[in-house]
């Protein structure tokens, strides 16, 4: 789960990281009022669950409250990578001397939370990483010991020459790790971590992704979920325990397992069709999930056919079959449904479908070809 900049800043502030003040707003009028109360130059920043806000025009400097209002009226309602901007964050403009990059994520290879820091922060950090890898200092944090003070200091030593700034930077790095752990994050990032001309280190941007598996034990973090900028299908899918991504095709896919779901989409494409979505109904499926999946798929007017590809392991074929039968009783589905069902409890599942008037394939290749054919009809 991604959280907004302003939410990540709340988490950072709670961990003691120096973050300039600021307020979130949903209308140009509010933005003007906030800018007035801050006084001086402000920055108006789109709050949206995606990177690339700056390049998309979602971050603007304003000399006065009126200008802040004008910027806000352009930014609010703008679309950034398919997400609609419904909130902006208003914060004072800072007197920046240097811009550093500080990030931490759980690295797959080392299986440790891993820090990356660079004195060359800012929007071109990925280019720095690619072309000047020596400008990035990395540190694996041993999860058995956590972040040790000398390690934070060692990282901060890369960022600054002035010992007073190094000390502040080390403190921020330690606090970022605390916030990362306490938030159950999979990634936390400050870019840029600035030093001001007055010699203060501050986080003027904040990004954080939370590990979805941590939310059950962190209700205060789970409450940060904001679905206002995402398509309703994604919200509904998540609420039903499904994994869903909307695509542009016309073959509605309902598959168990992310790998098989991707392979199914790949095969639809291979046979000349276009998948309408990625949809993984996950393990231990129950009828309600299938109902939700069908509601989401059938809401897309482009969809011409519904393709089930189920290979039972922990998901039992009888559960899925029951779900399909139940769902087709609850919703009036006018589209053709093709079903492939094999694996655990396959016979019971096929019998349930047969009793309800459905016939099921056992070959993935056949069912995908059939679905593409029906979509083109």
């Amino acid at each position: 789960m991604n959280i907004h900049e302003y939410q990540a800043k709340e988490r950072f502030r709670a961990a003691g990281i120096p973050v300039p003040p600021g307020e979130v707003a949903t209308t140009p009028e509010e933005v003007e009022a906030i800018a007035r109360s801050i006084g001086g130059m402000v920055v108006v920043k789109a709050q949206v669950h995606s990177g690339g806000r700056g390049k998309a025009g979602g971050v603007k400097l304003a000399k006065n409250p009126e200008e802040a209002r004008e910027h806000a009226s352009r930014i609010l309602g703008m679309e950034i990578k398919g997400l609609k901007v419904t909130k902006v964050f208003v914060t004072p403009a800072e007197d920046i001397a240097t811009e550093a990059y500080v990030g931490v994520l759980v690295d797959r290879k080392s299986q440790c939370p891993t820090f990356m820091v660079s004195s060359e922060g800012g929007i071109d950090i990925e280019e720095v990483a690619a072309t000047k890898p020596e400008a990035i200092r990395k540190l694996k944090v041993d999860p058995r010991y956590g972040m040790l003070p000398h390690q934070a200091y060692w990282l901060a030593n890369t960022l600054y020459d002035d010992p007073a700034l190094v000390k502040q930077g080390a403190k921020v790095i330690g606090q970022l790790y605390t916030s990362f752990v306490d938030s159950g994050a999979s990634m936390a990032e400050i870019n840029p971590l600035i030093s001001t001309k007055a010699g203060e280190v501050k986080a003027i941007d904040a990004k954080m992704s939370i590990d979805d598996s941590e939310l059950f034990r962190r209700p205060e973090v789970a409450a940060m979920r904001d679905t206002s900028d995402e398509p309703w299908e994604e919200t509904k899918a998540r609420d039903a325990g499904l994994s869903f991504v909307k695509l542009d095709g016309n073959v509605g896919c309902c598959v168990n397992g992310a790998g098989l779901a991707m392979a199914t989409m790949d095969l639809v494409k291979y046979y000349g069709g276009e998948p309408a979505n990625f949809l993984d109904i996950g393990g231990s499926s129950n009828p309600d999930k299938v109902v939700a999946a069908l509601e989401i798929i059938t809401a897309d007017p482009d969809v011409k056919v519904i393709l089930f590809n189920i290979f039972g392991g922990i998901t039992r074929c009888d559960d899925v079959a029951n779900g399909i039968v139940e769902a087709t009783k609850r919703i009036d589905i006018k589209l053709p449904i093709v079903i492939r069902l094999t694996g655990t409890n396959e016979e019971q599942g096929i019998k349930i479908l047969a009793d309800a008037g459905f016939s099921a394939f056992t070959s993935m290749d056949e069912v995908v070809q059939k679905a593409v054919e029906l979509a083109k009809a």
Binding site: V106, S186, D266, K269, P275, F311, G312, I314, G343, M364
Partner: protein, 294 residues
């Protein structure tokens, strides 16, 4: 021969009394796996009723279960909130292999659990994996037994159901398996492609290997390099996710650490450049294996 599990596997089921645990325990027992104990705290002293009138003693802790039965392997079906602790309990109990089926275990908890198991020299498979089956010998996890057959092919995969798909094709073509391993799709997994490739290379009965990857990370690229450097046996690959759209990415940390976007194209290229035949469709996997063995 086989890898990881065989006829001598003596299995403890952690979470044996839960819905998934009890269902799959019966399936494993029906397949002939030696399920010697179950663990459910608070239910020690009770018995699990398996198929054909067989029973399995239930213990309160792994410690007691291993002491009483000499188990060497455990499989975990406990809920996500308790799974990392269950892995550590298993790693401390004397078993040598811990297969964690549970999905949704917090990643930071797993970082600690993996370190704990490494400290003790215990192999973890998973979490969020379908487990292992060595056809004709033993099954640990949730892989459907009816699709496998004994034979010369080793299968290793990040995906669950896609593995079943590939194995199903192999079996239909008369190509049985030494062992099928689902390594799991989580960010932090205990046993990776390279571990399994190494084991398959060392197993005299395995004549060819199928490796099934997907988008994300760089495990497949490293496995491909390993194949070129260390494998004498033919390897056939498949990568899922060629049509997956790029996600909306937050932050730069991921790109900086891996230096890779983890796309299907990258992985297919890495496979091909390192001598791994790549199947375009799942149905093509078995044919490529057949050709490699010919």
């Amino acid at each position: 021969m086989s890898i990881l599990i065989d006829k001598d596997t003596k299995l403890v089921v952690q979470g044996i009394t839960g819905r998934d645990g009890s269902f799959h325990t019966r399936q494993m027992m029906e397949y002939g796996t030696q399920v010697v104990a179950g663990v459910t705290p608070g239910k020690g002293g009770q018995s699990f009723e398996g198929p054909d009138g067989k029973t399995v003693p239930i213990f309160n802790s792994m410690d007691e279960a291993v002491a009483a039965t000499g188990a060497n392997t455990s499989v975990i079906y406990v809920p996500p909130a308790f799974a990392a602790d269950a892995i550590m309990e298993a790693a401390d109990s004397g078993v040598k292999l811990v297969v964690a089926i549970t999905e949704g275990v917090p990643v930071q908890s797993m970082a600690r659990a993996h370190a704990f198991a490494r400290d003790r020299g215990v192999r973890v498979l998973g979490p969020n994996c379908p487990g292992i089956i060595s056809p004709g010998k033993a099954k640990v996890g949730i892989l459907p037994a009816q699709i496998v057959a004994e034979g010369p092919v080793g299968v290793v995969s990040r995906s669950g159901t896609l593995t079943y798909e590939a194995v199903f094709q192999l079996t239909n073509l008369g190509l049985g398996q030494t062992t099928c391993v689902g390594i799991g799709g989580d960010p932090l997994i205990g046993t990776n492609f390279v571990d399994c490739l190494e084991a398959f290379e060392a197993d005299p009965d395995t004549k060819a290997v199928v490796m099934i990857g997907e988008i994300g990370g760089t495990d497949e690229q490293e496995a491909a390099a390993y194949v070129k450097a260390h494998m004498s046996k033919p390897v056939v690959g498949f990568i899922a996710g060629r049509t997956a759209p790029p996600g909306r990415r937050m932050g730069h940390a991921g790109a900086i650490i891996s230096g890779s976007a983890g796309t299907a194209e990258e992985k297919v290229r890495a496979f091909e450049e390192n001598g791994i035949a790549v199947a375009r469709r799942p149905i093509d996997i078995a044919g490529l294996v057949q050709a490699a063995l010919a």
